[in-house]
């Protein structure tokens, strides 16, 4: 330093030296996220940069401080303590780290793993302890921060859709210092109130925000609940111990509402399905039957066709009849004339036969006539009264009888008579 014209004038080296002296008296605890991390090529020495939203702080650390912490710390939140040092030739300052620990979620993750391991070993996650949810829950208790998005999402997808559900909201803090205490108090209380289902939910957040739901005692309190419980913490990607011990895990508040109302939704879906079937079956029934009736009517109208050939059949029958009639008449006529002929013929035959027989009879008669008989030497004897005597007893002794011969007669006196033996 020199005095020039009454002014103190420093050299560059002097400024840097003074700055170094001032800075190195200032120890800090610093929290930040590691943005750069590299090892000295030869020495067990690390160069780091930690940052927050607005600034970056270069750091150096002895390798021994970082033993067992891992090689890739980029993105990791850390809590370090140390003091600033200044590299005089370039006036660059950095933090010389004296203590180093992981901060924020890193620590929480590690603790969480321990809790999960412990509870798992104790069997708190075992499937055998999971209770079935009622199909149609009527009284539902929602444990969450009233008025939060999570609460509103649940309400929208549960009672707004199915007003038959009675919803009771147990308002609790879901993050921060009082969250665990409130949950531990509220959970056993609502468990005794006869709800069908208890739903514990909150929206997404960092691991720190979700801390209450990764708390061992909260997990144990949830496990002890007699009421079937659904837990939905955070977004799809978040998982929490509370979800692991719940009877049913849901990914989001909306998902929890869907799970709780699944029975109602199924009934509603079924009703819609049945309604559609009813409508389509009704339509089908009517259109089908109207068509049938139209069709039958058409066929009824065709019946005329069944009788259409009747006139024709009648006509042909008529002409057939006429034909037969003619045949019959002709036949009758010819038969009549034939009969007449036959009759005449037969009559002639009969007449000839009769004539012949008459002649025969004439001849026989001629042979048998009394004249012929008298001629052959026979005679006829009459009584005195003129009657022909045929029997011996008719003849009286001493009476006069007349005897006729073929060429004359004579009278004779009966002197005796004799009867043949």
């Amino acid at each position: 330093m020199k005095i020039v014209g009454g002014k103190k004038v420093y050299t560059v080296s002097e400024v840097n030296y003074i700055a170094k002296q001032t800075l190195e008296q200032m120890p800090f605890w610093v929290e930040g996220e590691v943005s750069e991390f590299r090892k000295h090529p030869k020495l067990n020495f690390f160069y780091l940069r930690i940052k927050d939203e607005r600034a970056v702080l270069p750091c150096v650390a002895d390798g021994r401080l970082l033993a067992g912490i891992g090689n890739n710390l980029v993105g990791q939140k850390v809590l370090v303590s140390g003091s600033l040092t200044l590299y005089e030739p370039l006036a660059i300052y950095q933090l010389r780290i004296e203590t180093f620990e992981l901060a924020g979620e890193g620590v929480l993750s590690k603790k969480l793993e321990e809790i999960i391991k412990k509870l798992k070993e104790e069997g708190l996650f075992d499937q055998k302890f999971k209770k079935d949810l009622p199909q149609f829950p009527k009284k539902v208790c929602l444990v969450t921060s009233d008025g939060s998005d999570a609460a509103n999402d649940f309400i929208t997808h549960s009672i707004n859709k199915f007003p038959v559900i009675e919803l009771y909201i147990a308002d609790v803090r879901v993050q921060g210092a009082s969250a665990i205490g409130q949950l531990l108090k509220v959970l056993p209380t609502v468990d005794r109130m006869g709800f069908d289902v208890i739903v514990i939910t909150r929206g997404g957040g960092s691991l720190e925000d979700l801390a209450a739901f990764n708390d061992e005692y909260v997990a144990r309190a949830i496990f002890k609940l007699v009421t079937p419980t659904v837990v939905a913490i955070g977004h799809e990607a978040n998982e929490s111990v509370a979800e692991w011990v719940a009877d049913k895990r849901a990914s989001t508040p909306t998902d929890a509402a869907n799970i709780v109302t699944a029975g109602y939704a199924k009934v509603e879906e079924n009703l819609v399905y049945l309604k559609n079937r009813l409508l389509s079956q009704t339509n089908y029934y009517f259109s089908n039957n109207f068509q049938k009736l139209d069709h039958y009517y058409f066929r009824l109208a065709q019946v005329k066709g069944s009788f259409k050939d009747l006139p024709h059949r009648l006509n042909s029958t008529k002409s057939l009849l006429e034909k037969h009639e003619k045949l019959l008449i002709d036949d009758g006529k010819s038969r009549c004339s034939q009969m007449l002929k036959d009759l005449v013929k037969n009559f002639m035959l009969i007449k000839e036969e009769k004539t012949r027989r008459l002649d025969q009879a004439k001849r026989s008669f001629a042979i048998l006539s009394p004249e012929n008989t008298l001629l052959r030497g026979y005679s006829i004897t009459y009584s005195s009264t003129g009657s022909i005597l045929r029997n011996i007893e008719d003849i009286e002794l001493n009476s006069t009888v007349k005897v006729k011969l073929h060429d004359g007669s004579f009278k004779s006196k009966v002197e005796s008579k004799q009867t043949n033996d």
Binding site: T282, F290, K292, L293, R299, L300, Q302, V303, S306, L310
Partner: protein, 71 residues
């Protein structure tokens, strides 16, 4: 329409109508029998159409008035 017919329910009347139509389509059907059947068939057709129309109107009304249609 005979009293017997109006007593028939729809499906029985329809079945009878179908039977009649089939009988009438037999080419050997007797004229008198055919006429009787035709008369019965036509009045059954009328009966069925009336019953069906009535039911359809009623059901359309019910479905319209019901909450079912609101969805």
């Amino acid at each position: 329409m005979t009293k017997k017919q109006t007593d028939l329910n729809f499906s029985k009347a329809l079945a009878r109508l179908e039977e009649i139509v089939s009988k009438l389509e037999d080419p050997g059907i007797d004229l008198e029998e055919g006429l009787d059947l035709l008369e019965e068939g036509v009045s059954l057709h009328k009966l069925c159409t009336e019953k069906l129309t009535e039911a359809n109107t009623k059901i359309t009304k019910i479905l319209k008035s019901d909450t079912l249609e609101e969805n």
